[in-house]
Symmetry: C2
Subunit: 246 residues, 2 copies
């Protein structure tokens, strides 16, 4: 289905669900204006954006006056209202349910692991918060369980999630989530992912299938990852560093 | 749409997403065999059930050989394959997106508040775990933020979530989640909900719309809530009590 509506995406490139929606739009040639909402400047909590999404979270969209949030919901909606290849969100009810299942699992498991783990291992000071080891440990257990589920269930018999030979929106979403681990120390993220050969091959496959957009959209994250890695190196060498600029 | 397939629900009545699926089936007269999987006896982690759901979680379904898990996914799938009134999961793409949005919000917010809060304020010893005040405090903040969102966003202009004058699967799911607070001390759960008049009215409306099933399906939870409340009273009076039987 085509649409003549004007679509605006409200995103921050440091938000993993924002990146998923942008990649989904670019790979499917869905025309959209991209409006940056800086999480660092707390723009998502200010009235102009709250009129778009009263929850104060990115991503959100405005599709000809119809506003919507939650990245999985946005991708489901765009798959239904734009011309999008079937494998991203299949019409077949069983295949669709297999994608929905992974999307829901992601929110209750992978997100609950990755997001607080990265915050409480690394980002907290940049966000004006304090690292909390209890919350980091809880998140780590959830992250490791999620990686094990990816390796032994979702990717057991197929190169992409939900049993497909081509990716779905669930693959884009989870791959963007895992990329957040790039903000950790390289040795730490390497050790976390080391046991999961299928997960690592799947990350490459998602990046290749969505080329060049996956890499492009992660450019800002890669820059921050490099700044953080350089700072860790300086700190290890005993140099005094100011907090990096997000 | 009808279906001649044999449907089996795998559930535990102490699991809030299990209860949501059962209520949804009963209120829509969806024929199903109900197979109990005891979380207390760890049956969800044993091979017979892992063949149905390798994630080891309830609810799950077997629909004529097609197995599926994640309560929101199951309700979406059943709404599409059975004869179900449109308001539960609307065909209209914008209305459907509004329901999906709340379902996704629930997993990332309300569930992340209620479930760990109840565990770390009350249930942990029954589950062989230790109450953790840091995790309870984190969950409490998330729960209160979620209640505020329900009061000021989802229920701002309508008696049910997602803008409807009739409930959707998102209402059933969130109402079952909130019922979990019945396991807390009555004063504590009363104080938590006190500021949220619309939420309290909505709980009654969901219960009435799905009568008599909402109350029936919560029978086991109510029994446990009473046992726990009696135990608290005995403990306050200095009597020695053994752990209650789940």
């Amino acid at each position: 289905m085509g649409s003549s509506r004007n679509l605006t995406l409200y995103v921050d490139f440091f938000s993993q669900p924002s990146r998923a929606v942008i990649i989904f739009c670019r790979v499917n040639e869905i025309e959209a204006d991209v409006h940056l909402v800086s999480l660092r400047k707390k723009e998502s909590r200010q009235p102009p954006f709250l009129a778009i999404n009263p929850l104060g979270q990115v991503p959100a969209i405005d599709d000809g006056g119809f506003t919507l949030s939650e990245s999985h919901t946005i991708m489901r909606y765009l798959a239904a209202t734009r011309k999008v290849a079937d494998h991203w969100y299949p019409e077949d009810l069983e295949k669709r349910a297999c994608v929905d299942r992974v999307l829901d699992w992601h929110l209750g498991n992978l997100r609950r692991g990755v997001a607080p783990y990265v915050v409480h291992r690394e980002l907290a000071p940049l966000l004006g918060r304090t690292k909390n080891p209890t919350l980091a440990a809880e998140a780590e257990a959830c992250l490791k369980q999620s990686l094990m589920t990816m390796e032994t269930v979702w990717l057991k018999d197929s190169p992409f999630f939900a049993g497909g030979s081509q990716p779905s929106i669930a693959d884009i979403s989870s791959a963007c989530e895992l990329q957040q681990l790039k903000l950790l120390d390289k040795e730490e993220s390497g050790a976390l992912l080391a046991p999961y050969e299928k997960v690592k091959a799947w990350m490459v496959a998602v990046e290749e299938f969505t080329a060049p957009y996956f890499v492009e959209v992660h450019g800002e994250l890669e820059k921050l990852a490099k700044i953080l890695q350089d700072r860790r190196k300086s700190e290890a060498e005993g140099e005094v560093e100011t907090a990096p600029k997000l």
